[in-house]
């Protein structure tokens, strides 16, 4: 992994360690995913009240219109929760992960489920206008960022 990514992860770790709410941590996640991976669209979906319901869009960077809800019975959603793995789509294609592309102008994307501060289950989706927009380092960076954030436990909540 490049030094730039290592530095970003270090910074994110420090900020998360000083965070006092899940909202703050969500913002750190969006911010560092955005600055590290430069997507054209980035969205964070979270449960509103109860599990087994659809996830609502709570944070977004980018101008393209996006779905307000991530349906809880969609194939992508189910796979993310079951596998707890990062899913990527290098080009626009039909299949179980096509919902990963949130807008018509987008060609590739990444998605990962993360339990923010071990209390707020969320799904982070990044989209790119160009196909093949990420490589090994980008995937590793996003996984490590989510690992750091997922491991952190708030004392207050």
């Amino acid at each position: 992994m490049s030094t730039a990514y290592t530095d970003l992860l270090l910074e994110a770790g420090i900020l998360v360690n000083n965070a006092i709410s899940a909202q703050e941590i969500s913002n750190i996640l969006i911010e560092y995913a955005n600055s590290g991976l430069n997507p054209d669209l980035i969205c964070l979906y979270q449960y509103e009240n109860t599990l087994n319901s659809d996830m609502k869009l709570v944070s977004k960077r980018g101008f393209n219109p996006t779905p307000e809800y991530l349906l809880h019975d969609s194939e992508l959603f189910c796979f993310l929760l079951e596998s707890q793995q990062l899913v990527c789509l290098n080009t626009l294609k039909r299949g179980p992960f096509e919902e990963l592309i949130l807008s018509d102008q987008m060609q590739s994307g990444l998605a990962i489920a993360i339990n923010i501060a071990e209390i707020k289950l969320s799904v982070l989706i990044l989209n790119y206008k160009q196909p093949f927009s990420f490589r090994r380092n980008e995937i590793q960076y996003l996984e490590d960022l989510c690992f750091i954030i997922g491991k952190y436990k708030l004392e207050q909540e």
Binding site: S83, V87, N90, I139
Partner: protein
Amino acid sequence: MKIFEIVINSLTIPILVILAGIICLLILLLLYFVNKRQITQIIVRRLENWDSYKNNISIEKSDYILLLFGSYLEKLSIKYGVNLPVLTGLDDLWIKQVNRKKTKKSVLKVLKYSPDKGLFTIFKAALEKEKLQTVLMEWINKSGEFLILRKIALSGNGEAFNGKTALKLFGNDISELNEMLGDYEWKARFFAINIIIHDASDSSLSAVWDGFNDPSVFVRIVPVQLLQTDNRKKLYSKLEYLLLNDPSFDVRKAAKERIFTNLQDLYKIIPSKLTITQKLHLIELMDPYSKQDENLAMEFLKSGNKELELYASRFLLKNGSLKRLLNSADIGYLKGFEDIYSALQVVVGVNITSFIELSENNISTGALIISSRILLKNGSRNIITNLLQKSLEITKGRENIQPYRELYENSILCACKRGTDEALELLNNELLRRRYNRSFQEWVLPKLPVNRDNIFASTLISFLKDEKYNAYLELEKALCRFPAGSILTEIIDILKSNKRWSKSIKINSLKVLGALKLPHCTQYILENLYLLSIEEAKQYSILLSKNDNSAFRDKVRTILSFGDAISMSHLIAALPDVERETFLPEIKKSLSNSNPEVRIAAMWSISDYNKGELLALCFNLLRDPVELVREEVGRVLGTLGSTESIRELKQTLFDKNETKAVKIAVLKGLTISLSPEVLDILLLKLEENIELQDEIIISISRKDNPDDIKKILGFMEKTTSPIRAYLIRTIKLMGEKAELFIEEILFKGNKVLHKHAVAILEENGIVDLRIRQLAHRDPEIRLKAAEFLSKAGTKKAFRGIILSAKDPDNRIRVQLVKALDQMNSAEGLPVLEELKNDPEKRVRKYTLWALERYEAKNLV
């Protein structure tokens, strides 16, 4: 005299007979007159003193004499104007005669002198003899008595009589009889209903139906037995009610007999709908030969009501069902066997146990097992002998095979807990037969009854003298539970004998003697202490502490001053705490004794004080020329685990000027120490990486409790590579105990230790094991193995998991896909391409996921 003989001889036989008859007649006449005179005198005397005799004129003559002079007494009655037949009790004899002979003469006499008493007897006689009916009816007509029938009834005792014949006699008096049914005297009602029941008139029939509700048992029973009616349903209904609810057993019994004689077709009692009391009544009258009743009683056993269970049990006991049930227990059919046991447990729960006899020859194993379970707490103690005898025969050679094992063990437990001496003798023989079976001996010895030393003591002593015997620990405890008097002489004889008994037998005898804790045996123990190891001798300190007296001290001082190394070392080690203070100067002196054993013993003795000054003396021995002494010092200090001793050991270990031999002794001490800070010291020393690395690794590998392993793994994360390599060796030495924790590292995703964890697991053969488990028939085991290999992510794991591409369980194929993603190798691509067409959608989805990731990760 001679003249008399001559006269006799001259007479012919007929004349002699006539003479004899005349003489007898004269004698009888004489007796008659004598008795008559006596009777007259008695009566006159009694009548003269009438008040003092209070209406009692007892003549004190036999019944025969009284009857003989009956007419004379009648004359006297007329003469004196008193009822002499009644006053003398003659009327009772006449009543008996009426009852027996039914003569008109005696009837007339009774009617004349004692009608109140004898009327019912005459009535009964008249029913049987028509001639007397006329006499009776004439008397009734003449008597002009009001309610004469009631008088007849009350003169009896409620005996049964022929009501049908009586109806012929009193057919005209039906209305009076009907009225009698309202009499407060049950005898009157009984008399009346017995007659009326044969009358067909409506009023009589109605009165008889009411008889079912009469307060007297005797009256109720009459319609139950005799009522004839066309209304069978009504009769059945009345009878059923009485059968279930009447408080009198006789009435219930009569009702049931009547139902089963005349109304069986109407019988329709449903037990489940009855109250508890009704059920109890029903059980009481069950037919012992009826299978239906037997089944019903078996049902009642499951009722949960103790009273009902008792009644049902008693019925089943009486008809032999319980015995049959017990004998039918078959161990080949487990459910049936347990059902029988459950039923019999209920029976035993209400204290019915006499169905267990076990006297027959052919008793099934199942019956014996159930009996053995029951006899553990209940049943006759005498039966236990039979049980044990039969059990030992049946289980011989199969004592450890179920279900014979249960039978065998239960029977022995029964004998131990509740057996007679006869049973215990059988057990004693079994003890001798299986004397070399260690597990049996260890099991049975604690169970022997302590108050039966007369049976077992000699057997146990024979075991003590037997070198091949192998359950000494339990034997020692068993012997100690017996009264000391029954074994002490034998034990002392063993210790005192020179060569007859081997050393091991003497040691065991000494241990028993010590365990007996007898103050008067101190000398024997002290003199034989050399037989034991120092550790064992130490255990005797509790015993010796009880012998705090000058005699004991003299004995110890004599042995310590004599200088015998073996005796000294053992005695010093065994000295009790309270006595050690007294002998402290001698013990300190022994630290420099020429014999290493004595030095070690003295050191152990001092170490218990745990005082700085005395510990310092022990530390000096770390530099002892004898390696054994140094090692023991290390063990002593490690065992102590005090802050001072651990600090001292640490200083010695890190002392650059200390020799290797001393440090090895220190390491041995630290190894056995349970102090939590020891592991830190060892890890610190390991990290120093100067010397003794092999010894330290061995020491650390002994710290294999979960907390220590976690600490070691945590240390691994922070330390340098060479030290990490040492620690990997350490964990490998721990073997299985550490494997679980290492696997945990994999599953928790610890990236720092992942590589080392995998290396350890590969080296320990765990990876190979998991690969083999991929072929296990249990899919859960295969899945766990696949998950493990997927997490391991090594080449070897990859080669293993690739085999599971054809596994029938889709969860395992998914793990394979995850492993291929983890590997991120071109070698996995063909497999992924193949899995793209997997019949399971879930597998295909994971395959697409992995392929996308592979493509992204390998973009140039």
